[in-house]
Assembly symmetry: none
Homo-oligomer: 225 residues x 2
DNA sequence: TTTAAATATTAAGTTATTATTAACTCTGCA
DNA sequence: TGCAGAGTTAATAATAACTTAATATTTAAA
């Protein structure tokens, strides 16, 4: 289940802090980049498209608040997570930071463990699930390799079976109408009998051995963990 | 288009703090509810289905951490925003709180302005407007998933039952004539006996366990919360 | 209060939809 | 060529959803 590592850009003018944060975040498995002033931050943010930016408020060239505002005004950074970091721990700047569009605001000094834990929490809630490997309790689905793993056991599905399962599983809980399934898996123009879907569903259920596909009679099917 | 106010549940055992937070959050336009211990929090959370819970860690009955864990283990609270509030401002509990599934963690004392501003930030990023989902007090109806949730419990309705409920519920208070219901749910041309509607209404009432459909004799039915 | 109409309730009957199974076609490959 | 697996179809079984009908209860008007 190897996702590409999440990219974090650290923007701070103090080399010590950059190094310190870089060390701790790398150890957590993030891919870390650094910038030492506002302009460099903007430039690198554009190039790297980080998932999260740790932004010091007090920086040369452009302040963290300015950088934050500029980033938020561009649609490409609409979903980039921004964590403000600052020695200015008074309420005024705290509020201003958050209102500029930052997602979190932490005063220095802060323990690396707390920082990492806050970053993890931010990712847990904010990051969009990337297309790719789906990971549910006990089931994972890898579209690259056409491999499904149930409780550690690898199970091989045929192409159509896999596509059908992936369609359902990429939005757990959502009911897919038979028509939707036909369009997505078979294509708009292909005409197949109605029972074809059922047969595939059955094979999937049989092979997985776990009951994760629910029939919604008269409507369609949905995937549930 | 007026969204219903966002619901915030404040859980703290100190009356002063409850009142203080209630005042400040109400002033911001939130609809505020309070609970004074862990059990009450769970009970009210189920009933009210708040968008955000401010959770004190140190509470009688059940601690904030316990409550957070219990809530997160239920799918109905998967998207509820949880903000932990505590006097325990050491790093250990900070980390533990976040790892339990809280979305933010703030140490007391904290200025009301900062709290409000953090809550606004959380809403800005975390609240996802779901298309089509109807959310009433304690009842939510999700046409995408064909799922009805009553006080946290998922209830499965059959197709016609769901469509009928959705029809009534999407305009709470409005009376639907039997004819309208037949046309909308069954279609203009279908002919079914008059009692068919009654039977479906009954099943819905039975399954939901809550009396939210009112009979208007000689006219039709309406949905009320 | 009585009465008639409307709705609620229940269980049984009917239909529609899905599950299952097996046979058949097609394709690629040894 | 013939095998093996994928994909489809078709026939039958099973099941859940829906409808009906019979009876009971409620409601509002007389």
């Amino acid at each position: 289940m190897d996702q590409p590592a999440r990219k974090v850009l650290i923007a701070d003018d103090e080399p010590d802090i950059r190094e310190f944060l870089q060390y701790n975040l790398s150890a957590e498995g993030y891919e870390v980049f650094t910038a030492k002033d506002g302009d460099e931050t903007l430039e690198k943010a554009k190039r790297i498209q980080p998932d999260l930016i740790v932004l010091d408020v007090m920086m040369p060239k452009k302040s963290g608040v300015e950088v934050c505002q500029l980033l938020r005004s561009q649609s490409a950074f609409k979903d980039t997570i921004i964590l403000m970091l600052t020695a200015l721990n008074d309420d005024g700047s705290h509020i201003k930071g958050l209102e500029t569009g930052a997602d979190d605001y932490i005063g220095k000094p802060i323990s690396p463990k707390v920082l990492v834990s806050r970053i993890n929490a931010l990712f847990r809630r904010l990051s969009k699930p990337k297309a790719g490997v789906l990971n549910m309790d006990s089931i994972s689905i890898d579209p690259e390799q056409y491999i499904v793993t149930v409780e550690g056991k690898e199970i091989s599905l045929a192409k159509k079976e896999f596509e059908l399962l992936y369609l359902l599983a990429h939005r757990p809980g959502r009911v897919f109408l038979r028509n939707e399934i036909l369009n997505q898996v078979w294509g708009n123009d292909v005409i197949v009998g109605d029972r074809t879907i059922d047969v595939h569903i059955r094979k999937i259920r049989q092979k997985l051995g776990v009951d994760c596909i629910t029939t919604v009679k008269g409507v369609g099917y949905k995937f549930e963990v």
